[in-house]
Every structure is written in C-alpha cells, then in structure tokens.
C-alpha cells in the first residue's frame, strides 16, 4: 500500500512499549489530533533499537525516522534508554556520511502519561520532514531492497 501521494510522506516510528507507545495511546485516548504520516513499530525497549534498523529504514526509502523511549532514569528495564541514547547519538553523527540529512532522524523521550507531548512531537517531526521533502534515498537505493535473514552479514559497529 503506498502512502497517499501528495498528502503524506513515509515516516516510521520505533517506540518503546512502556513509555512512548503508551504516550501515543494516551494521545489517542485524549483525541489529540495528529498528522497521519507516521506508522509505529512497537519494540520492548528503546535499547532494542539497533541503529542498523534506522539506517536500513532510511535506505529502504523512508522519508523520516522517529525514535522515542522513556525519559532518562525512567526506563522500565533500568538503563535501556542510556544504551539507546549512546548508540543513537553516534548514529546521528554517522548519517550525513551516508548522505542522509540529519533532520530526517530524531529521537525523543515521552512517557506514558504525556499524550499532549506526544502530539507535539509528532506534529513537530512531521513538519520537519515535510520541510525536507521526499527522501532522495528511495530513488537511489529503492532497487536494492531485500529482507535479510538472521544470518545477515557482519554488522556496522556504531
């Protein structure tokens, strides 16, 4: 299913189950209206998010990737979000090297009670991605998409 041409861009969110996914639910329960571009992938913890997922998502042609987890010190697993922060900071510096505008990737912290904050994050990020327009990556790399299996090659050390 394509995104709605002209209306939407392709934005993928990786959200931790305990905080931000709950925050997005809270926003829904509060009926806080949001742009429709974002699709959310649920992961147990922001510490589960491999920078490689984000790189691949961008190379597969996503126009923006949003990562959101628990506030520092509020991680359900104690310290997953510290690992996440370290890795994602490194990733942010790495993206320009592979030709991705840094504005296409953001990570943020939203707790399960912060529905309003989630609304603002989605609104802000969607606007930011729309300002950048469609990603050139889809044209360049669109062809070489594949679903890797678990034996996939060696990983990028980030």
């Amino acid at each position: 299913m394509p995104i709605l041409a002209g209306k939407e861009l392709r934005i993928v969110g990786f959200l931790c189950n305990w905080c931000s996914y709950g925050g997005a639910d809270t926003a829904g329960v509060g009926r806080f209206s949001q742009p429709t571009d974002l699709r959310i992938i649920r992961v147990p913890c922001s510490g589960r998010i491999d920078p490689l997922f984000i790189v691949k998502t961008l190379l597969y042609g996503a126009d923006g990737v949003l990562v959101s987890g628990c506030h520092p010190r509020d991680c359900h697993y104690g310290q997953g979000n510290f690992y996440a922060r370290r890795r994602l900071e490194a990733l942010k510096r790495f993206l320009p090297i592979i030709g991705v505008e840094p504005g296409r990737f953001e990570y943020t912290w939203v707790s399960a009670s912060e529905g309003q904050r989630w609304q603002q994050v989605v609104q802000g990020f969607t606007e930011q991605v729309h300002a950048l327009g469609p990603s050139p990556a889809s044209a360049v790399f669109g062809a070489c998409r594949e679903i890797p299996d678990e034996k996939g090659g060696p990983r990028v050390a980030v």
């Binding site: 993928v12 829904g28 949001q34 429709t36 992961v43 147990p44 589960r48 707790s111």
Partner: protein, 652 residues
C-alpha cells in the same frame, strides 16, 4: 501459513473514521492471508467466538486483530487464540484505534494507514513461532513501602492472608496523615480511635516486620524474587532497649526542636517520641537540635535513660530483604502555600494550613484541643477557610483537584462550631466536590446546621489589619467584591506527590505522571497494578484520595498479592533472548550490558559461549543490539521480524 485478519469497528470508535470493510478487503491480498473480515466488537463474546470459529473452520495458523492498542486487549486475544487451539504467541495486533481513528478525521488517510498497519502485523506474524513459558519459584513475602492508612491496611490484609510482610516507614512512627487528623468525615468519628487499633495490630502481628525510620535504598530482581536493600537511619537510640518510658523527653534541655508531627505548631524536645500513640513507641534524637551533636556536650538523656538505650555514635545500617511482591503506599505531601505571596507567603502566623488546624483541633495536639491563634493564643471568633489553595491552579502548575479538601473543610467548619459555639466560619470555594456516600449531605450540614457561610469565589489577598487579618475575595454569585476581618485563616492546601516519589519510582521501575504520582496499569481496569509485574499501588501515592478509597486500595493491592502468591509457581514470559551458540564467538559483550545479569558465560567443549538464564531475562533486547555476531535474538522481536515490519512499510 494461513492467517486470519479481523478488523474491528469498536462500535463507531473506529468505523467512524476508518472504512474497516475496505481494510479487510485489502488485507485479503496480503501474503498468507487466508481470511479477512470486519467485526463490530472483537473483544465481546460473539467477537471472540467468531475468531475461534474462523481458526477452526479455515484451519488458520495465526491471527491478526486490527483494533485498539495491544496494551488494552493483547491478553484478551491471546487467550482467545489459545482457546482456538493455537499457541498464544501466534497473534499480532494492529493498533488502528489509539494510533489511527482517534487522532485524525481524514477517512481516506486513516483507511490507508490502517491497512498498512495490518500489513505490518501480517509480515511480523509470518515470522512468529510458538513460545512456551517456563515456571519458577516464588518468595512468598511482601514488602509494603509507607505506613499510612493504605499501607497499614495492605500489610494487615496480607499478613492475615498468611504472608510474611516487611513494612518500611520513612518516619519514626506509622500512621501517616491520618494519625494527625482530629476527626474524620463524613461520620466525624475520632481519627485516632479508628486508626489506633490498626496500628497496634501492626505492632503485634507476628507476620509483620516493621522497619520504621527506614527507607528503601535499592531494588533488584523481578516479580516473585525481588531483593531489597533497606537503609535503617540512625535514631541514636537502641530500640531493642528503649521502652518508650519518655523520661528522656522530660529531661532533655533542648526544648525548641521542630515538631514535625504537629506540623510545626508548637515545639518538641531533641529526643522525642513523636506522639503518645506512636508505633513503634520508641524515642529518637533529632541531631539538628541535640546539644550533644551541636556543642559536643550534654549527655543528659544518656544519664537519665533507665535502660541505657542512648547511642550517640550510632550509624545508618543497610539490611537486605527478599520478597516476591511490593506494595507502594507512600501517600502524599501538602502544597507549600508560601508560594502564594498574596496570602502572606508564610509571613502571617495566623494564616495556617488545614493540617496545622487539625493539630489545633486535636485533643492530643499542642494546645490540648483548644483552638488558639498561633500569634497570641487568643480564641478566634471569625475563622475564614480558603479552598483550592494549590489545587486547580495552572499558575502554580497544580491544575488538578485534590479531591478531599472540600470535604475536610466542611468537617473543620463543623468542628470549629463545636469547639467555639459563638464562632462564625466562612468558606471561600469555587465548586464543592462531594461525590461520595453521605458526602454532599455532610457539606450541606456544615451550612444548614452549623451555619458556616459559604462564599462562591476565590480570595485575592490576605493582609494584616491591626491584630486581625483582612481577607479580600469575591462573591461571584452576587458579582461583588467582599471583605472579611478574620481572626484566623485556614488554607485548604492541596495534595502533591510525596517528596522523593520520582526517585522511588525509578528504583521500582514504575512510571509516574508529571506531578510525581505513580501510574497505574489502567485507570479503570487495573487501578492498583503497575506496568511492572509484582509491584502494586495503594492510597494517595497514585493520586489524591480520602481515607475510604485509600483503605479500599490497600485491600485491593493485598488481594492482588494474595492472588499472585496463590499460584504454586510463576510463569516467565517467553519473549526473552536466546543465544545461537553456533554463531556466538564468546566475546562476552552481551553479559556485560545486560542490566539484569541474565547472561552467563559457559564453557562448551572448551570454548566460551553465552547463555541466557530464562527466568532472569526480562526481554528488553539490549543484548541483541550489542552482539556483534547477531547471535543473540530476542524472541518475538527478532531482527528479522523488525526488518520485515520496516520492509512492509517502505515498499511502495
């Protein structure tokens, strides 16, 4: 593989902005989808039966339900597919309500987005596999943190149910706020008469170990097997010897110590037992006021103590307890009214808080139950109560209603008339919130029988005029500015999260809201559970609550603990990590990063390999990202599955 897709209307909740029939139609074209339909209410009995029937009739191997958030109904549908004969992990949900229908009105965009989310779920489900939980032993002991009425109730119910209880209280006596109250609404019965016996029960119960003047330092482990470090703060008195005779208090020369129990109305001695009914009834030295500590000489208490209990050299002690469940009941604190400069900012002695007023009303309080003005000891004739101080006020970041202050203000107006028949009370209020049984009748009685004059409006300023206080407010029903010359002003200060709540929440790995109150699992359906298995909530730590609700929650939390422990063994969540030992090169990175110590390094034919301890792994997936070989994979959230989801979204 044969997959069935069920797209829920949720009445009109989803259907109003998502064309569910068309989503089901689109889904039929997805790989492996053998059946797709839309359903009115999937979670209802006919809805679940429909799923079970389809699984059986069409021979499905997996189910996708596109409906509300999995945080709402994942368990419901897992049970349903299990009843249909599938493994419960052969289910995926697409959240098309909270993440789609409720946040946008564009039906075309929503329908399209819903279909994409279904596709994502299908792609993930195609890579799911059956998982089976393992069972493990439980430590049948419970930790209760906070000894207010909620914690007391939880501790007693657990202990009566046959569990060993460890009760940790921050101050030197249990009782919480309720121990400070004079009488309680709506029955106006004596607070210590109803709480006192429960406190004694705690002290005498053989199954309750009470650690007063102690705090939780560190919490490790997981449901069924927590390990808790408790800091027992130095009291400078050996409690195993202290008999609570009170001789030391009589002789202590430092008589100007802060009296926390009496909310700072009146003073106490440096060595003190906070109040006569304290549990445990033991003395402790407040080092901030003790001459031995400040000047290095005194030692009077050590000389007079008949049991030789004084220990000036005592230090904090940290002990460890093993428990299987935790009930948090740390209550609330009061709003600091000195933030309101227009009410004097704490500069006027006769502008006091509601809890200070409780101490003035109490027969065991610093004035022996005679209401006297702090400034000059005179009995007040005109008493003005101001409600919603530090509640329902965005400008001080307290937009919420504290719930019980309307009621206690009515109680205090009634008690004022009882104490001083010739007095006149005025109550400034915005709304009266009295939704309990006999509650509204109670506030009416304050007006009708006790003649309290209620004025609808806020107070803008309070300032001294001669030896009285001028209270200037509005009567919005009359549309007028009004003034009252008062002898005493009582501020109905609101409730805030107890000091240190966020820090405690972080230790417990539970969430808290922006004001510091702990978050329940679900506001309606799981009000005393948290999102961390084995951790429960009771009382005002979850949000402002009066005594009946706090006690109710104490019992509810206890019943949850008893329910948990009624099982022989607990089952672990099988969504945990697994090591593919053929790929593992034994670098040990996973073992280093796992926050739970769930990875151990073992020797396999002379080579180091990683292994995950199933009952310890919590399924965070941090190790999976760390492993340079891709050898650790988190079940149900493998790299393969997540990348398949990504791919489902990005293909155009």
């Amino acid at each position: 593989m044969k997959i069935g897709v069920f797209v829920c209307h949720c009445g009109s909740n989803i259907e109003a902005t998502v064309d569910t029939a068309s989503v089901a139609g689109t889904a039929r074209a997805f790989p492996d989808v053998a059946y797709a339909t839309d359903v009115m209410y999937s979670c209802s009995e006919p809805g679940q039966d429909g799923i079970i029937q389809a699984v059986r009739e069409k021979g499905l191997d997996g189910v996708v339900v596109a409906s509300c958030s999995p945080r709402m109904h994942e368990t419901t549908f897992r049970r349903a597919v299990e009843r249909a004969g599938l493994n419960r992990y052969m289910l995926e949900m697409a959240n098309i309500r909270e993440h789609v229908s409720w946040i946008g009105k564009d039906r075309e965009a929503n329908t399209n987005k819903a279909a994409e989310l279904v596709r994502l779920a299908v792609e993930k489900l195609r890579r799911n596999r059956a998982l089976f939980p393992k069972s493990f032993d439980i430590t049948r002991r419970v930790l209760v943190i906070g000894g207010g009425v909620a914690g007391i109730q939880a501790a007693l119910d657990c202990a009566d149910g046959g569990l060993d209880v460890v009760l940790v209280e921050k101050t030197s006596s249990i009782g919480g706020k309720m121990a400070k109250l004079d009488k309680t609404f709506p029955t106006v019965d004596c607070s210590s008469c109803i709480l006192g016996p429960k406190m004694v029960d705690v002290a005498q119960h053989e199954r309750i170990a009470l650690h007063a003047y102690a705090e939780v330092e560190e919490i490790g482990g997981y449901v069924g097997n927590f390990e808790v470090k408790i800091r027992k703060k130095a009291t400078f008195v050996d409690w195993s010897l202290c008999t609570g005779c009170g001789l030391c208090m009589e002789k202590c020369p430092s008589r100007k110590s802060h009296d926390a129990f009496n909310e700072g109305v009146g003073l106490t001695t440096a060595i003190n037992i906070p109040f006569p009914q304290a549990i445990p009834k033991k003395a402790l030295i407040d080092a901030r006021f003790c001459r031995q500590f400040l000047k290095g000489k005194c030692g009077v208490c050590a000389k007079v103590c008949p049991s030789g209990a004084i220990r000036y050299e005592m230090e904090d002690e940290v002990i460890t307890e093993k428990v299987g469940a935790i009930v948090t009941a740390t209550g609330f604190d009061l709003f600091d009214h000195t933030k309101y400069g227009e009410y004097g900012g704490g500069r006027y002695p006769d502008v006091i808080t509601s809890l200070q007023y409780e101490r003035l009303l109490s027969a065991s309080g610093p004035t022996g139950g005679h209401v006297k003005r702090p400034s000059d000891g005179r009995e007040p004739r005109t008493v003005v109560f101001v409600q919603c101080v530090g509640s329902r006020d965005t400008s001080v970041d307290r937009p919420y209603c504290s719930g019980f202050c309307c009621m206690y203000t009515a109680k205090q107006a009634i008690l004022t008339k009882d104490h001083i028949p010739e007095s006149q009370s005025y109550v400034f209020y915005m709304d009266i919130r009295a939704p309990g049984k006999l509650y509204d009748e109670f506030t009416r009685r304050a007006m009708e029988e006790y003649g309290a004059r209620y004025v609808r409006g806020r107070v803008a300023m309070i300032y001294p005029k001669g030896d009285r206080l001028l209270v200037r407010g509005a009567d919005t029903l009359m549309g007028e500015q009004v003034e009252i010359e008062a002898d005493l002003v009582v501020l109905a200060v609101g409730a805030e999260a107890a000091a240190g709540s966020p820090a405690l929440a972080e230790k417990l790995r539970i969430s808290y809201d922006k004001y510091g109150f702990f978050m329940e699992s679900h506001p309606k359906l799981r009000p005393v559970e948290t999102n961390t298995a084995g951790v429960y909530l009771a009382g005002a730590c979850q949000g402002p609550k009066d005594i009946p609700s706090s006690v109710g929650q104490g019992s509810a939390a206890a019943s949850k603990v008893l329910g948990l422990f009624s099982r022989q063994k607990l089952e672990s969540d099988p969504q945990i990590s697994q090591v593919n030992q053929r790929r593992c090169v034994g670098c040990g990175k996973c073992a280093l990063t796992c926050p739970f110590g769930a990875v151990k390094m073992i020797d396999v034919r002379g080579e180091p390999k990683a292994e995950v301890i199933e009952t310890v792994c919590q399924g965070c997936g941090i190790c999976a990202v760390t492993c340079p070989q891709g050898a650790v994979q988190l079940e149900h959230f493998t790299d393969n599955q997540i990348l398949a989801e990504v791919n489902a979204l990005c293909q155009s």
